[in-house]
């Protein structure tokens, strides 16, 4: 039962916390609060997605949702620190502006349309096959064998994983697409 003796100022005077910076000023509500990091179901060891310093991140997950992202104090690179961008990366991955549905703009269209993911994949595969076939080049203008297509180009990779870049280059090379570039050229 609460009495007037529980008033913080009296607790401060009665107890050993005369400066009022410890137990005297803690309410039950404060005592009952727990951090998102302790309530997490699991923690993934990750790396910041922005610049190339490679700061360690701990990604806290509860009920299948990211609840917090913090710097990893174990990292010898970053020692737990994150910059404003790294600190905002929970906001990056949970942003309500994230595009989570495929969007399609037909030729001469003035608005986006919806499209199933697998339908979009089928359509893209059709276009790749067709463009490769229609713009195939077996020899260049000097008669040298080049076996390639100049109809397909790609740009990107610096924000992706090594494993992804590996598959991208492997598939495009087998396809004969050579105009494959990323930010390292820019």
């Amino acid at each position: 039962m609460k009495t007037f003796l529980d008033w913080p100022v009296l607790r401060q005077l009665r107890g050993d916390d005369v400066l009022g910076r410890g137990s005297a000023v803690r309410s039950r509500r404060t005592e009952e609060l727990t951090s998102r990091t302790t309530e997490a179901d699991h923690v993934a060891r990750s790396v910041c997605p922005y610049c190339a310093v490679g700061c360690g991140q701990k990604v806290f997950v509860k009920d299948g949702e990211v609840t917090q992202i913090e710097g990893d104090p174990d990292s010898p690179v970053s020692r737990g620190r994150l910059c404003p961008k790294g600190s905002a990366s929970k906001n990056l991955v949970t942003s309500p502006l994230r595009q989570t549905k495929v969007r399609y703009r037909r030729p001469y269209g003035t608005e986006w349309e919806d499209l199933d993911l697998t339908t979009a994949m089928e359509m893209i595969a059709d276009r790749v096959v067709r463009t490769r076939r229609d713009y195939w080049q077996e020899h260049d203008e000097q008669g040298r064998r080049v076996r390639r297509t100049m109809g397909i180009a790609s740009l990107g990779g610096a924000t992706l994983d090594n494993e992804e870049n590996y598959l991208i280059k492997k598939l495009f090379t087998a396809m004969g697409a050579i105009q494959i570039e990323n930010q390292a050229r820019i």
Binding site: V129, R147, D161, M175
Partner: protein, 896 residues
């Protein structure tokens, strides 16, 4: 560094607290300057003059670390008598052909070297950015070029260097760079006094350095200085490139680049690499020394990883399946080809060129002329919406109802929604665990490309067309697992299985390889990227190692994994003296253990473990055996650090100050104005501002540069859509000095319009003494600064700074000059609609670039001041049957 790599900067601050002196050289006072001991503002685009001045200071005062320089660099090597320097030729080197604007590098060679450069095609090397392979190649040196270890021979590299930089005096540096002689000399003293046996100095640059028409030579100048002062391969020394994307190092190592295959193997070109043998010989140079002599194994392991059991010794491991390059297929060439209707389909993978690439308008006009475009991104970025809300829609240059490009916006998985490795800026791979499934239709690139490959192969199944064999025979059977809500057959491929293939393994047993030395050239092993071999050593994902930094040595070798072979500092043999002893106790790092007869130390030695310092190769030894026990630079053909580069660079063996392509000043140092070998595209949509000796350069009197803000990231695709970051930096702005504000009537918080021959953009004005007018060539020059993060999308919007730039490229690597240009600055907002085009056209007219696209590029020697047509790129026959040359576009082709 404090702005764009803040967490890395903690180490600089900590070093400062322990007594290190921090010097910041930058056109603009930033958060880095605020924490530095010394801030030196300089004119944008004059770094070679500045650093060349320090080289001159070192050489004329004999302050070089002589024992290191004689033993570990090519200072003593004697250069051919035929070599003529920029001193002799007013800013050109010997071998220049004004017609092609390329060098024949034969006269640059060492004195008795066999002249194998005679057959080189330097124009083709520029087209294919072949210098980029040298990220790991080093240069090849054959035979034993003569040396004079007293460094007195007039043609030894040391003396050549001394003559080359003799005119880079403090007075010349002050006049060119706009710095005071006192500030310059303070930097000289600090750098030299803090280098030697007991002390080392680090040079840190951010990759804006690469975005110049002389970008490679910027970094070369830094390398010369660090070699002369003995700062390479030693703790606390080195040259650190601060790269700007989480895995941009990885995407260079395992390249999504036109001229490279994984591990810096060249994409074969149709001219020189028609057979497997020609291709591997072009890399290993039979008879040359150094570690590239095993290139046949690296190449064959890659082919075997690509085509699996179909790749056999009998069919040259399917080498024939690799498409051939034949010229410049870089991103800018490709975008211009889109404008010309030659490219039909385009993938954008986490990249936003509408904002992030130079010349935004060319990017967007190119995209508007495709058949189809696939954009994979987290947000609805500008490159996905160019057809409805780009600046060109406002001006009428893109009309949605007339734009045929079909656009697929495919949502991507974020970094916490997939697993895989990033390679950070010091070559370290770190594995990320997956935290959650991606939402909705969001998928990883791994998923997208795995299934795209599967579907393309299904569509071609049964094809008898020989051209489809490379796809049908591709090793494309990665295990998948069900993740989240994917329908049957659409599982997520295993990133770890891909990493194992990248690492390499024994084909028969599946045993992962431990080092690239285990790679065989007979098809019994495969591996997708030889420099990454070891990341899956013992079947353990070494990149996933997370031993806390506090529980291991300061080198922290058990956190992640660095290529090659988990070495954290490259060329660390140089941290010991020629006899193998540390240069000093204080700077001990790797040394020879006489008792154990092996190299040891804090890091993995970057040297053959059992090769003693006393080892000397015999006259016939080549390959690794050709490297002596006191030659630390083991990827170089002579084992020496290259002060002078006889082969491998297209614009000169020594860095030379050239003005930026757009400059208000004539070159104070030589008659040659700008880099004579740069790559140019003379086209109606790519008009360049005039520079001396041309007339009308005063139409664009100011110098501008761009960089990042802490709170935003590159083209804004990962920051302008994030509420917290958008709130911290809510609007596009331009920084101007109080003096320029007074001169042009600019008000703090008001608007300014910045104009070039390509575009006019508007921005809020910030009047600040972070920018200061500089005195250059006895007159004052104003510099303005812009962040380049904005576009029309996201929570906070604004005009894009990269719209201001034209396209001209460094000849070695085909990277654009987008850190310096000239401009005009006017008070007030820009006009809109057709009036905006009118304003730019008016400037083009006043500058005399409206009717004439041709610029004089060679400004000295025979052939000077002839209008150049830019580069006639060797290109394949287009679908229209022409040879595809751009030549000189007339103005009727203008996109207005």
């Amino acid at each position: 560094m404090a702005e764009a790599h803040p967490v890395g900067f903690q180490w600089v601050v900590e070093a400062k607290a322990r007594g290190a002196k921090v010097i910041h050289v930058d056109p603009r006072f930033t958060r880095t300057s605020a924490l530095a001991d010394t801030f030196v503002p300089l004119r944008v685009g004059t770094d070679i003059a500045f650093l060349g001045g320090i080289v001159n200071y070192v050489l004329s005062n004999e302050l070089d670390f002589r024992e290191y320089v004689v033993s570990y660099t090519n200072a003593a090597t004697i250069v051919s008598d035929d070599f003529l320097d920029t001193e002799d030729l007013d800013g050109l080197f010997s071998g220049f052909d004004p017609e092609t604007r390329t060098y024949d590098t034969e006269s640059w060679q060492y004195a008795t070297q066999e002249q194998d450069a005679a057959g080189d095609d330097e124009a083709m090397q520029r087209e294919t950015a072949s210098a980029m392979q040298h990220e790991t190649h080093g240069m090849q040196v054959e035979g034993q070029p003569p040396r004079d270890e007293t460094l007195q021979h007039p043609n030894c590299v040391y003396q050549v260097l001394k003559r080359h930089y003799a005119r880079y005096t403090p007075e010349m540096v002050a006049r060119t760079c706009g710095v005071t002689e006192e500030a310059f000399l303070e930097v000289c003293r600090a750098w030299t006094e803090n280098s030697g046996r007991d002390r080392t100095t680090a040079l840190v640059y951010s990759v804006g350095w690469t975005q110049h028409s002389v970008g490679v030579q910027y970094i070369r100048t830094g390398a010369i200085l660090q070699l002369l002062l003995g700062n390479m391969g030693r703790p606390g020394g080195g040259i650190m490139a601060l790269r700007g994307h989480a895995s941009i190092q990885g995407s260079t190592d395992i390249p999504t680049l036109f001229n490279l295959l994984p591990g810096y193997l060249p994409m074969p070109n149709a001219q020189d690499h028609t057979t497997l043998e020609e291709w591997v010989d072009a890399v290993r140079h039979p008879g040359a020394k150094g570690f590239w002599s095993n290139a046949d194994a690296y190449g064959i392991n890659l082919l075997k990883a690509y085509w699996g059991e179909k790749a056999t010794p009998e069919n040259d491991f399917c080498f024939d399946y690799v498409p051939k390059v034949s010229g410049d297929h870089g991103t800018y060439r490709t975008v211009l080809d889109m404008i010309d209707g030659k490219v039909k389909g385009y993938f954008l993978l986490g990249q936003n060129p509408a904002v992030g690439s130079a010349h935004g308008k060319a990017q967007r006009l190119g995209m508007a002329n495709l058949d189809w475009l696939v954009v994979r991104d987290l947000f609805e970025i500008e490159s996905a919406t160019f057809w409805k809300d780009s600046p060109e829609v406002a001006t009428g240059e893109i009309v949605p109802e007339e734009c045929a490009t079909e656009v697929f916006l495919m949502p991507a998985a974020s970094h916490v929604e997939k697993e895989g490795t990033f390679t950070q800026t010091q070559r370290m791979l770190q594995w990320r665990e997956k935290a959650v499934d991606p939402p909705g239709d969001c998928r990883s690139e791994l998923w997208f490309f795995h299934h795209l490959g599967r579907m393309v192969r299904e569509r071609l199944a049964g094809s008898t067309d020989e051209r489809d064999r490379p796809l049908l025979d591709l090793a494309w059977d990665y295990p998948t697992h069900h993740a989240g809500h994917q329908p049957e057959g659409w599982g997520e491929p295993s990133a770890e299985a891909v990493l194992k293939e990248v690492n390499g393994y024994e084909v028969a047993t599946g045993r992962p390889l431990s080092t690239f030395a285990e790679m065989k050239a007979d098809g019994s092993t495969l591996g997708g990227c030889w420099i990454y071999t070891g990341v899956y050593k013992d079947g353990v994902n070494q990149a996933a190692r997370r031993k806390p930094g506090s529980e291991q040595s300061w080198v922290a070798p058990e956190w992640g994994w660095a290529w090659p072979a988990n070495r954290r500092t490259l060329y660390n043999r140089a941290s010991a003296d020629p006899e193998g002893r540390p240069w000093s106790e204080r700077k001990a790092y790797v040394w020879w253990d006489e008792e154990a007869q092996e190299w040891t130390g804090h890091d993995v030695p970057d040297f053959e473990k059992g090769k003693p310092p006393s080892y000397r190769p015999g006259p016939d030894d080549d390959g690794v055996a050709g490297i002596a026990g006191d030659d630390p630079f083991i990827m170089q053909g002579d084992g020496k650090g290259a002060l002078y580069v006889p082969a491998g660079l297209l614009d000169g063996p020594l860095p030379t100050h050239y003005e930026p392509v757009e400059s208000p000043f004539p070159n104070p140092v030589y008659g040659q104005q700008a880099n004579p070998t740069r790559k140019e595209y003379s086209r109606a949509e790519n008009r360049m501002n005039p520079s001396p000796p041309e007339e009308h350069s005063q139409v664009f009197p100011f110098v501008f540069t761009t960089s990042r803000l802490t709170e935003h990231h590159t083209a804004g695709g990962m920051s302008r859509y994030v509420a917290r970051l958008a709130e911290l930096q809510p609007e596009m702005f331009v920084e101007v000095s109080p003096e320029l504000a007074a001169e042009r009537g600019l008000e703090n918080g008001g608007w300014a319009t910045i104009v070039t021959a390509r575009a006019a953009i508007e921005a809020r004005v910030m009047v600040t003494d972070r920018l200061t007018p500089l005195r250059v060539e006895d007159r004052v020059v104003h510099q303005v600064w812009l962040p380049y993060h904005w576009g029309q999308g996201g929570i906070v919007t604004g005009d894009s700074a990269n719209d201001l730039f034209g396209i001209s490229l460094d000849p070695n690597v085909l990277i654009q000059e987008s850190k310096v240009g000239t401009c005009d600055v006017r008070a007030g907002r820009r006009p809109s609609g057709a009036d905006l085009l009118g304003l730019v056209a008016e400037y083009q007219r006043r500058a005399g670039v409206d009717h004439d696209l041709l610029r004089p590029i060679v400004t000295t020697g025979p052939g000077a001041l002839v209008d150049d047509e830019g580069d006639e790129t060797p290109r394949p026959a287009g679908d229209d049957g022409t040879d595809g040359h751009d030549g000189h576009d007339d103005t009727s082709g203008d996109h207005q």
